[in-house]
Structure formats: C-alpha cells, structure tokens
C-alpha cells in the first residue's frame, strides 16, 4: 500500500460458509464406541471361551471322578473276590480237609471251614457234595440251617464244574446279597464243592463310599429294582429305583435327577459268571463337583465385567482427551476459514495433535501473509507501487457513496509509446515510475494517486473545491512539463489532464471516470495542459449513453452492415476494389448515418468493437467473393484509437483465418490526422499490418498537416484525396491545383492515388488527364449493400466491355445502371 492510500482496502476473502453444526457422531463418540465395542467383544469372547473350557473341564471332571470311582470300586470288589478265591483254593487243597471230606467227617469239615473263614472274615463257608447237597455250612452256626438242603447256587456250581472255579453275587435266604466264590474240591478228581463269600451290607457300602468318594448302592436290576443297601438316605431309595427302571441304557454313565438334585451315575454289574442281576450303582452329585467351577465362572464373569466397565470409562476418557484438541483445532480452522487470522487459543500438547496445531499455526500465519500480499497485488500496481485502477474505482465508489465532493485528475502521458519504442520497455517502466513519484511528491494529504493503466494516471482528490482541484491540475501539468532525468538522460514527457468533479459531473464511479477520461481526450486533442469536463458535452453525451447501449445491442443483433462503394481503375475502367463503409440499420430509427454514431464511438472508445465488427464483416465478404471466383480488395477504415490497440494485426489475421480468406484482399485506410496523432505508434502498427500482407492507404489526404518526411515513413502504398477537394475541383481552381499537385506529389513518393468524390464526367476527365490512378464516387456507384453491389458488378463488367469495344467514354457507363440513392459516404 502506498502512503497516499489513506483507507484500508476491503477484505478480499469471500466469506467462507460456516461449517455445519457439530457432527452427530463426533470422533470422541466414535472412538469411545469403537474401543468399548472392541473391549466388549474381547471380554465376551474371553468369558465365553473360558466358560466353555470350564464347562468342559467340569463335565470331564465329573465323568473322570465317576470313572475313577468306578475303577476303584471294581478294584476293591475284585480284591475281595481274590481273597475269597485264595481262601477257597487254599482250603480246597488242604489235605486234612479233603481227608475229612473223604471220610465224611462233618465236625472236622465244619471246624476247618470256620477256621479258614475267620481268617478272612468270610460270611459264607459252605461245602456241598457232588450231588449238590450241602454237607457243612458255617452259617448254620449262626442259625441259618442249610445242611442237607440243596446247594443254593446251582449256576455257580455248574460254572465251577465247567471252568474250575466261579464267582458271582447272589442273594441268599437272609435276603442279603453275597459276593461268592465257588470251587470244586479236588482229590484230584472233584469230591465236593466249596462256596466262600462275603455278605454285601451297609458296612461294606460305607467302606466303598469312603474309598471311592461316591455314593454306592447295591440293587437288583431285574423286577422291582430293589435296593439292598445304599449309602444314600433311605428316603432317596425309591427315587433311585425309579431312575433305574426309567433309564433305558444304564450300561454307560448317565445323568439323572432325583429328589431335585442332578447326579452323574454309573451302574457296575456285579455278576461275573452266574447269579442274579445284581449291580452296584455309583453316583456323584453334580453340584458338588461343579461347585468350584461355578465359583470360578462367577469370578471370571465379575472380573470381566469390572474390566469391561473400566475399559469403557478409560476409552471414553481417552477419546475425550484425544479429541478435545481436535475440537479446538476445528474452531481455529473455522476462524481461518472466516478470514480471521489473529492468534486464537493455542493448542498445546506434545503429541501429533500438538504438531498438527503448530502446523496449523504456521499455515494460519502463511495464509494471513499471503492474503495481505494478494490484497496488495489486487489493489496495487506492481510497477509503480501505486494503487491500481481497481483500487481507484473502489475509492471513487466509496467517495460517491458517502456523497462527499471529490475530483479526479485523469492524466495521459504524451509520446510514451515513442519512449517505449525508442528507449525500450525497461526504460519506459522507469519513466512511469518516475512520473508516479513526481505526481505523488506534488500531492499531499488524502489524495489518492493511482496508475489507471498503460501511460495513464489518476488522482482522486477528496473534499477539494473545484478551483483548488483545477489549480492542482495546472501544477501537475507544469510539473510534468519539466523533463525527467533518468540515468542522466533528460526525458520529455508532458501530459494531457482531464478534470472532472463529483457530484457536479457524475453520480456513478464509471461515469465519473469516463467524464475525466473524456476531458483528458479533449485536452489531448486541444493540446491543452488540462481541460475540465464540460457538462454540456456530458449532456450531449447523455443521449449518447443510450446510444452506446444500443450499439452494443446492434453488434449482437447484427444491425451493422457494410456497404460497398466501387473503386475504379481510371486507366482501364476496371473495378479494382471496394471501400467498405459501415451502416447501421437501427430497428426503430432505420438507417443511421455514420456521422451520428462514429464520432461518439471514437470518443467512448467503442470504436474498437465497431472496427472489430467491420473487420469481421469485411473478412467474411472478401472470403465469399474469393470463393465465388471474383476476388476483390476490400478497404476498411481504421480510427486513431484502433491504431492504439496492440493486437490489431492478430485480430485481423484471426478474422481472415476464421472465414478462410486471403489477407491480401484487405486494405486498411487510415486518415491522415489519425496517422499524425501519434505518428510513432502509427508507423509501428501500420508497419505490422503491412508485414501481415495488408495494403495500407492514407485516407482523406489533404485535411491534415503531415510533413512529407513523415508521410514517407508510413508504410502506405497509396493515398486517397479527400472528396472536398475533388468535388469542388471544377468550381474552384485552387482545389484543382491541390488535387493535381497532390497526384504529382504522391506519384513522386511512389504512392498510388485514389480520388474520392468523383461525381461527374468532367472531374473524371481531368483526373484521368492528371494521371490519377483510381476514382471513387457517385459517378461510378454509391456505397451499396453486398447484394446490390453484386448486381451492380454483374452489370458493370459486361457493360464496360461493350463500351470499351465502342468508344472509351465512361459517361455512358455511368448512366448504364441506376445508382441507388445513398446517404453519402464518410
């Protein structure tokens, strides 16, 4: 920003739409949910897995316990059997015993039996003859008389006969089951049968329970499922019988409920080789075995639940802790988005978030710096460091909006293009810089000095009365009259200054600037140091403001058309080209004369667009004629402003290329005065056009004051004598002299000459006689629309041939066809 810029530029940043409200699923919630869900999943999984494992182990433990118990039971039971067998076999081999049997010595037999029975506490010692009649029985000592009866274990007896020995469990007369071993007494052939056995009673059941850790019941499997003895409470016995009856397959371990408790049960048959179906039922209450496992399970569940709860609390805390800086960062970013670059609350932490915050801070600083630079660039001219046109326009807006009186000095440097061209652009830039400095040095206070573009500067003066402003303008002009010294190089610049006052001259910024610009143009034309905008001109221009709008519409509506006026080779009478003249078919006003809008267009600069339109139409028409096989040179007029357009050659080239024409079919005409306005630019631009292949002609020759030397420098190939001379040639001898000498002068410079305004035979005759090359005027044809011109051409060509064949009189030709009434040219 320059020191003269007294007010801060408006903010450049467009308002960033505020981001939406807090998202529903914030990061914290998501994180907390995720962690909690994961933890829950893991805990549940662990609990289920250990539960399953525990359940398996527990079930296994129950089976194992029963299995071990059953094994121990069998072992103990087998041990008893072996004791019985041992006793029986020792006894049966006892010689004295056998002798007693052989001699039927019953008292001896009984005493031997009870003696051996006592050794192992046998409950049954019984001897029977081979005829299965009991001979001796120790139970008879206890009052159970068996002697003389049949041996009560026929099955075991038969098995012993067959296998040498037999064992089993049988129920005897007293209603108790007995574990028995039966052996034959051999001498060496069987002479008797011996039975040795233990009674199975509550005492034995208790002992077995003590060893196996299981409840032991001895039951009868067939029939009523009678329980002989059991370690279970008496009340439970009917239920046990019921379970055994109900359960189908009792050969494998099974579970059963009775009296409200679940048991793992196992039935061990006790009958080896004979006897009744007596079995031991071993059972273990499940609850007892499972109790430690249930405790373990409960502990696991409790521990898991506590861990889960702690985990959830922890994850919530972590999520909040993690996301709090993020929320702060979000606020910070929101503020940056709104263009607030001031330092807000800092996010301080040493982790990634902290780093991110630091980066954000750096970014914020960078953004702030860049924004201020962008602002500077937007409102500043980088070359001179002065405010640019944008800033100027805004400042003007601002003033006008505040309705504070202000003035604009609009300044255009003279001959700047020449400086640029001869001393180089770098030098030109330094000149601009120096001019800017000089203007700024001259003005103090709240004057805004801006570079309005190119070699134009503007000064916005606030709260100055008009006289003061005009004095400043004069001073400025005087200051710029003094040569600038750059690298010890005095440079003459000078400037034209236009002055406009608000609110006197304008109510809107662009109007205000245009007024000042227009005044500058006038100053330039008048070569005055400064010109104050004249309100009358402005009023005249007011009607023309709508004209400008209309012209804009006219281009887009194709209201403009080119009229073509033939240009005749006076020597041969042949058509050598046409001059294209713009006409405006106004939708309401009809055909408008060029005078009514061309000067205005030139004044407003709109002429550039208009010329562009002319070039387009001419290029199109030239291409059409060339395609039709009748190529014709079309000349069009360039205004002085057109010459200032740097890319004019390119635009012409593009227009020709667009319609597929030949650039040599175009010729541009430049008025002498416009070529003189900025001679150097004119030489440069016209040279470029010439190089492009265009023919250049000097139009309206004679009205300006060009020097011959300058004329020589122009890359023109011909000149056109203004019709004001030609038309009055017959009446005014002076004019005739000018025409004649001009022709001679042109020829001597190697330029062809076209006479405009040829209206009668007399003029034509003179011109021919003076060697004028081309003629143009109503005598040959007025400017005509393309269609009319084509018709004219269709008649003129053949007619010319006929005439040429007869005489050489053009007078005849000119009257051969009707000439359309035209409003004249230029």
């Amino acid at each position: 920003m320059t020191p003269t810029n007294t007010e801060p530029p408006p903010k450049l940043a467009a308002p960033v739409p505020a981001p939406g409200g807090r998202p529903r699923w914030t990061l914290a919630v998501k994180l907390a949910l995720l962690f909690s869900a994961l933890l829950g999943l893991v805990q549940t999984g662990v609990y289920l897995a250990s539960s399953l494992a525990i359940s398996r182990i527990a079930t296994g433990e129950v089976s194992e316990r029963l299995e071990v118990g059953a094994k121990v039971f069998r072992q103990v039971f087998d041990q008893d059997r072996r004791r019985l067998q041992l006793t029986a076999s020792v006894l049966s081999a006892d010689f004295a015993f056998r002798e007693a049997i052989a001699t039927n010595d019953v008292p001896t037999m009984l005493s031997v039996l009870s003696n051996h029975g006592q050794r192992i506490n046998a409950d049954v010692m019984m001897l029977a003859g081979l005829n299965d009649i009991v001979v001796a029985d120790t139970q008879s000592l206890r009052g159970v008389r068996n002697a003389g009866n049949r041996f009560p274990f026929p099955d075991l007896s038969a098995a012993a006969e067959r296998d040498g020995q037999a064992s089993g469990t049988v129920v005897m007369k007293d209603g108790n089951p007995y574990q028995l071993v039966v052996l034959p007494v051999l001498a060496p052939r069987p002479i008797a049968r011996l039975a040795v056995g233990f009674r199975i009673d509550a005492k034995q059941a208790r002992e077995l329970k003590a060893v196996t850790g299981l409840d032991v019941s001895f039951v009868h499997l067939d029939g009523d499922g009678r329980v002989y003895t059991s370690t279970l409470a008496a009340a439970e016995l009917p239920a046990l019988g019921e379970v055994l009856r109900r359960h189908e397959n009792i050969s494998i371990p099974f579970q059963a409920d009775f009296n409200g408790e679940a048991y793992e049960m196992r039935v061990v048959p006790l009958t080896d080789s004979g006897g009744s179906r007596i079995a031991a039922v071993l059972q273990s209450p499940l609850a007892e075995t499972l109790a430690p496992f249930n405790l373990l399970n409960t502990t696991l569940f409790t521990a898991g639940s506590i861990a889960l709860l702690l985990g959830i609390l922890g994850s919530v805390w972590v999520a909040r802790h993690l996301t709090r800086p993020v929320a702060r960062l979000t606020l910070l970013v929101d503020r940056i988005g709104r263009g607030e670059f001031s330092l807000g609350e800092r996010v301080r932490s040493n982790d990634e978030i902290g780093h991110l915050a630091k980066r954000f801070d750096a970014m914020r600083e960078g953004l702030a710096e860049r924004e201020s630079r962008i602002l500077d660039l937007t409102y500043m001219d980088p070359l001179t460091g002065l405010p640019n046109r944008t800033r100027l326009v805004e400042a003007v807006h601002e003033r006008l909006r505040q309705a504070s009186p202000c003035s604009i000095l609009y300044l255009n440097l003279d001959r700047f293009a020449l400086i640029n061209q001869t001393l180089g652009h770098a030098f030109g830039d330094r000149v601009l810089n120096a001019v800017g400095r000089r203007i700024r040095d001259l003005l103090q206070g709240d004057a805004l000095v801006a570079r309005a573009g190119g070699d134009e500067f503007a000064v916005l003066l606030s709260n100055q009365d008009p006289a003061n402003a005009e004095a400043l303008a004069r001073a400025l002009a005087a200051a710029l009259e003094r040569p600038l010294v750059i690298d010890d190089h005095p440079v003459d610049v000078g400037a034209a200054i236009g002055v406009a006052h608000a609110p006197a001259h304008a109510g809107a910024a662009d109007e205000f600037l245009r007024a000042a610009d227009a005044a500058m143009q006038v100053a330039k034309a008048r070569r005055a140091p400064f010109v104050v905008f004249e309100p009358e001109k402005k009023r005249a221009g007011e009607g023309q403001l709508s004209l400008l709008t209309e012209m804009r519409h006219a281009i887009s509506n194709n209201e403009f058309a080119l009229y073509y006026q033939p240009k005749i080779n006076l020597a041969s009478g042949q058509l050598s080209g046409v001059e294209a003249l713009i006409r405006w078919h106004h939708p309401t006003l009809g055909l408008r004369a060029p005078d009514s809008f061309i000067p205005f267009a030139e004044q407003t600069g709109y002429i550039r667009q208009l010329t562009g339109e002319v070039i387009r139409m001419a290029a199109q028409q030239a291409a059409e004629w060339r395609r039709a096989g009748e190529p014709l040179e079309i000349a069009f007029n360039l205004s002085p402003r057109d010459l200032l357009v740097p890319d004019l050659p390119r635009r012409i080239q593009e227009a020709v290329a667009r319609f597929g024409g030949v650039i040599g079919d175009l010729c541009c005409e430049v008025t002498e005065s416009s070529a003189m306005e900025d001679p150097e630019i004119a030489v440069e631009r016209l040279g470029a056009l010439r190089e492009l292949g265009l023919t250049i002609a000097i139009d309206d020759f004679g009205t300006g004051y060009s020097s011959l030397s300058y004329l020589q420098r122009l890359p023109a190939s011909g000149l056109k004598i203004d019709q004001s001379f030609v038309r009055h040639m017959n009446a005014r001898p002076q004019a005739a002299t000018i025409v004649r000498s001009t022709i001679e002068l042109a020829h001597s410079l190697g330029l062809s000459v076209t006479a405009e305004g040829v209206e009668d035979v007399e003029t034509l005759t003179h011109l021919k006689a003076w060697g004028c090359d081309y003629g143009q005027g109503y005598f040959f044809g007025r400017p005509m629309p393309a269609a009319d011109f084509d018709r004219w051409r269709g008649i003129y060509g053949p007619a010319l041939a006929v005439v040429n064949a007869n005489t050489g009189r053009h007078a005849t030709v000119a009257h051969l066809f009707p000439v359309g009434k035209a409003s004249g040219d230029e």
């Binding site: 010689f95 052989a102 296998d163 040498g164 051999l186 001498a187 060496p188 002479i191």
Partner: protein, 229 residues
C-alpha cells in the same frame, strides 16, 4: 498195564506186554510162551471205543466178567511210576488183589494219595521205591500227589482177569475162552458208565462202543526249571 493171563496167551497180549518195556529177548520168550499156552483154546474180542465226537478214545478200560469167576490167584505186582512230576501210566487196569508200587523216579519227593472208596491210602513224602499197596476191592481209584496238584492217575480194579485198555486208536483186544460174559467199560472222564453188555464168545468178535467223556481243564504244571524256584 495189561495183565497176560497164563491160559489165554495171545500175540496181541504179548504186544501189550512188550509195551511194558521188557528186554527184546524176554519179549520173544513171552510171545513164544503165549503161542504155546493155548492160543487155539480162546477167541479174540476186538473192541473199538470212540468218544461222543467219533474220535478214538484211549485209556478206556474194557472188561469181560464171567458169571463163574475163575479160581483166585496171586496176580503179578504192578508199578505206577512218578517221572517228570507225572504219573505213568495215566490209567492202569488191574485185577482185584494186585499189589501196586509207586516208584519215584524224580529227584524230588512225592506224596501219593487216594480218597477213592475202592482204596484210601497215602504214601507220605518219599523217594525211590515205595511200599506196595494192595488193591483188594474192585472199582476206580483216583490217584493224586499232595504236593503236585496237577498230578493225576487212575487205577481201575477189575473183578475179572479179562480186561484191557484201549490204545491211542481206541482199540483193545480181549482173548476170551468161549462162553458168556458181561462186558463193561470205564473211563476216568466218562460222563456216565455204559450199561453192561451181555456177550457170548464162540469165535472171534468185533464190537464198537461210543463213550461220552468230559475232559476237565488240566491243572497247570509249572516248568521244572530249578532256576525259577
């Protein structure tokens, strides 16, 4: 051991005598004696005894009892050896009044006993030759050894001089003077005794019988390896 009756010598009886391990010259002498002692006066009864499965049954004792017993005489003594902790032979048929000795050929002691009604006796732990035991009542006698439970032998005390024991082919021959007899058979493992058969000898005869037996499980005989004990 088959007793060879003096009046009824036969070649078969002589062969049976040969099995009694007589020296070769003695055998020939016996054969010769048998031939000349009246082979022409007696007829041969051939018997074939099979078990319930049709297999030849050895060790069956057959005896023919004449209605009029021959005059009593002093039968030759018989020996039942104990060798390799077994009785040899397993079955011995003798005539009532025969004395039997139980020579112990093992380097250890035996204790022979019998609780059979026909003859209850015991010869307590002894070595070498034993005293002789007179079997004066007819009937079966089961022999055991009190210290070797598996040792078992049987003597059948026949009430007639005409008896024989089947060989491994289940065959036995009796040389009987012509006349009527009651024929009886016995086997230590027989399930039941066959009914006595009436027999009339008038020329050679052949008879076949089937006798159902049940062989009890043998008691285990431990191997005689001194190192094991």
């Amino acid at each position: 051991m088959t007793f060879i009756p003096r009046l009824t010598p036969s070649i078969l009886a002589a062969r049976a005598a040969a099995r009694a391990a007589l020296p070769a010259f003695a055998r020939i002498a016996v054969l010769g004696a048998a031939w000349f002692s009246g082979a022409a006066l007696a007829d041969t009864l051939s018997l074939k005894i099979t078990d319930q499965a049709g297999a030849p049954l050895a060790n069956a004792v057959v005896m023919a009892i004449a209605p009029k017993p021959p005059p009593p005489r002093k039968p030759r003594p018989v020996a039942i050896e104990q060798k390799d902790r077994e009785f040899l032979p397993f079955v011995t048929a003798i005539e009532v009044g025969t004395s039997v000795t139980f020579p112990n050929r093992d380097p250890l002691l035996h204790h022979v006993y019998s609780f059979s009604p026909a003859k209850v006796f015991e010869i307590k732990l002894y070595n070498g030759d034993s005293r002789s035991v007179l079997f004066d009542k007819p009937g079966p006698v089961a022999l055991g050894c009190n210290i070797h439970d598996w040792m078992e032998a049987h003597i059948y005390v026949a009430p007639t001089p005409y008896f024989a024991k089947t060989d491994a082919q289940g065959q036995a021959r009796l040389t009987l003077p012509a006349g009527a007899y009651t024929l009886q058979t016995w086997h230590p493992y027989q399930n039941a005794a066959l009914p006595a058969a009436e027999l009339k000898m008038a020329g050679p005869q052949s008879l076949a019988y089937s006798l159902a037996v049940t062989v009890p499980p043998r008691k285990v005989k431990p191997p005689n390896d001194p190192n094991q004990y």
